[in-house]
């Protein structure tokens, strides 16, 4: 098994300590950090995302895999910076106003980071104003809005309206998700994408960034 496979395998098992050690070993062997990232960490996270989508693994397994990914990234980050390797894109992500649920949002964030996308996490119960401010401050490519409740999903529309009113709509792609959200609702409120799960969100995000 090559070292990339090993990194991917240990990441999928959530073995943070092993991932950290293997990433260090790969760096010591002069493997380019970009390759360690894309061939090891991102591949592993992609496999976990696919399994999550197919209900072969569940929330705890995704969380510990993401933690292992972050452990590897901690070792890798200085080397990536030295080589001037930047994230493939930037996303502002949050759970909308009135909604305190964060697990869905956190899973999407982890999957996006797992694909090399930088995430600005605004947390839960976030107002439209705060998102508009974050777009101005961070200039993201993507805005990801989560809502778990039927009573809060309309806040996604309010946010999109506020982004339009601020003249920022053409600067960002807006992705929406959460248990009650549907493709039809996403179209109705003017979002660019709806995805049913975290792994699909990462796939959509990557597609947008390639456009």
């Amino acid at each position: 098994m090559d070292i990339f496979n090993e990194i991917s395998e240990f990441l999928q098992k959530g073995k943070a300590k092993d991932v950290r050690a293997l990433v260090q070993q790969a760096l010591d062997n002069n493997i380019p950090p970009q390759e360690i990232l894309t061939e090891g960490l991102i591949v592993g996270m992609g496999i976990i995302g696919g399994k999550f989508k197919r209900n072969e693994v569940y929330v705890p397994e995704v969380l510990i895999a993401a933690r292992a990914m972050n452990a590897g990234l901690e070792i890798l980050r200085p080397a990536l910076a030295k080589d001037n390797i930047k994230p493939i894109g930037k996303a502002v992500i949050c759970t909308v106003k009135g909604d305190m649920h964060d697990i869905g949002k956190n899973l999407v964030k982890m999957m996006l980071e797992g694909q090399g996308i930088e995430c600005i996490d605004l947390g839960v119960d976030v107002s439209a104003d705060k998102i508009v401010e974050a777009i101005i401050e961070h200039e993201p490519d993507l805005v990801c809005l989560s809502a778990l409740l039927t009573t809060t999903m309309m806040a996604q529309k309010e946010i999109i309206d506020a982004i339009k009113a601020a003249g920022l709509r053409d600067k960002v792609k807006i992705m929406v998700g959460g248990a009650p959200v549907t493709q039809a609702f996403a179209e109705q409120i003017g979002a660019d994408a709806y995805t049913p799960d975290a792994a699909s969100a990462a796939e959509s995000a990557c597609m947008f960034l390639k456009e």
Binding site: G14, V57, V59, P60, G98, A179
Partner: protein
């Protein structure tokens, strides 16, 4: 304010008898009971007009109880001639924050729900909590319950309270860390879950004891409580069947065993859990809520009959055709089918159609 409970159903004794038989058969893994629950808007509309932020829970308990009981009374009255399986019951409505704040912490009220903040930074921190029964919301919940029981006193209306399962309670106390605990701290997690099981038993016993004080001489007042426990398994919908068996099942079973029979709740996003929950001993009922964008239980009846092994599944449907098309399969198990309806008139029609199936 409330009428006698018998006034709220065309034949309450018949409804109770039907549901008693359903649950007895369920526990004995014998199928053949399919009942219908009409859900006119009036059954749920009052929740949206009951603003939880309007009350100061230090000084307004009587006002809160009065307003909630009035809304419940109105909703029971308008559906009093509907001969479905719904049994009127009263219960405090405080969102979800109260489901864990009885252990520790405070509740953050919003108009239509409430939240509690995870309070156990480290998994073993529960060992340092004050004894169960001493928290602010433990006492307050009993005061609120008593205020409602006083208002309904004499009507014989059943009192009802559901609880988090030990895993749901541990999840509320730990927040997202609970998912890491499954892998990082398995032994400590079992200890926390055992603590949560004991806390739930104590809290439920105190609520039941209070309800008994007002309802012991009524025919059906304790029907939903005595010998029963209602619990949700929501966190379990995020984990595998293997982890459910290892971490959730033993502690949920402990609570069920204490009371006798379990009435459970989980979600259709985790239909694989039906088999796990229905494999617990003495589960009579599982309310399998349909999630948006997820498999719909009504479309998987054959599989559910097999997985439930006789446990009564409370599921919903969108229209009457779905019941008609599945009635033979439904009759192989035990089901309570809930159908949302726009009006009381539609509810009468639906019940009549169901009774003629």
């Amino acid at each position: 304010m409330f009428l006698n409970v018998n006034e709220y159903k065309p034949d309450l004794a018949k409804t109770i008898k039907t549901m008693t038989k359903t649950y007895q058969d369920a526990v004995n893994h014998k199928g053949g009971n399919v009942t219908f629950r009409a859900l006119p808007n009036s059954d749920i509309d009052f929740y949206s007009s009951f603003d939880l932020t309007q009350y100061n829970y230090e000084t307004d308990i009587e006002k809160y109880a009065e307003n909630l009981c009035q809304k419940l009374s109105n909703s029971f009255y308008v559906r009093k001639d509907i001969d479905d399986n719904m049994i009127p019951a009263i219960s405090p409505v405080l969102g979800i924050g109260d489901y864990s704040a009885f252990v520790t912490g405070d509740i953050d009220f919003r108009p239509d729900t409430s939240w509690s903040t995870p309070s156990l930074k480290n998994i073993t921190d529960f060992k340092d909590l004050p004894p169960i029964g001493t928290s602010k919301w433990y006492k307050k919940f009993l005061l609120i319950s008593e205020a409602m029981l006083k208002i309904s006193n004499g009507s014989g209306i059943p009192f009802m309270r559901g609880f988090f399962s030990p895993m749901d309670l541990a999840g509320a106390l730990r927040g997202e860390e609970i998912y890491y605990d499954l892998y990082d701290n398995p032994d400590e997690l079992h200890e926390l879950l055992d603590y949560c099981a004991d806390a739930t038993i104590q809290f439920a016993e105190d609520i039941y004891s209070l309800a008994r004080k007002y309802l012991k001489d009524t025919e059906y007042g304790m029907w939903l409580l005595e010998g029963n426990i209602n619990m949700s398994e929501d966190i379990s919908c995020m984990i595998s069947g293997d982890l459910y068996r290892e971490f959730c099942a033993p502690h949920t079973q402990k609570v069920i065993d204490h009371f006798g029979v379990g009435h459970m709740h989980c979600h259709s996003r985790a239909m694989y859990l039906v088999k796990e929950i229905c494999s617990l001993k003495n589960v009579a009922n599982l309310w399998l809520a349909t999630d948006p964008n997820q498999p719909r239980p009504i479309e998987h009846i054959e599989q559910l009959v097999e997985d439930a092994n006789g446990v009564c599944l409370a599921i919903d449907c969108d229209n009457f055709n779905e019941i008609e098309n599945n009635i033979d399969a439904l009759r192989k198990g035990n089901f309570s089918i809930c159908m949302p309806l726009n009006s009381i008139e539609e509810a009468y029609e639906a019940v009549e159609k169901f009774n003629n199936l």
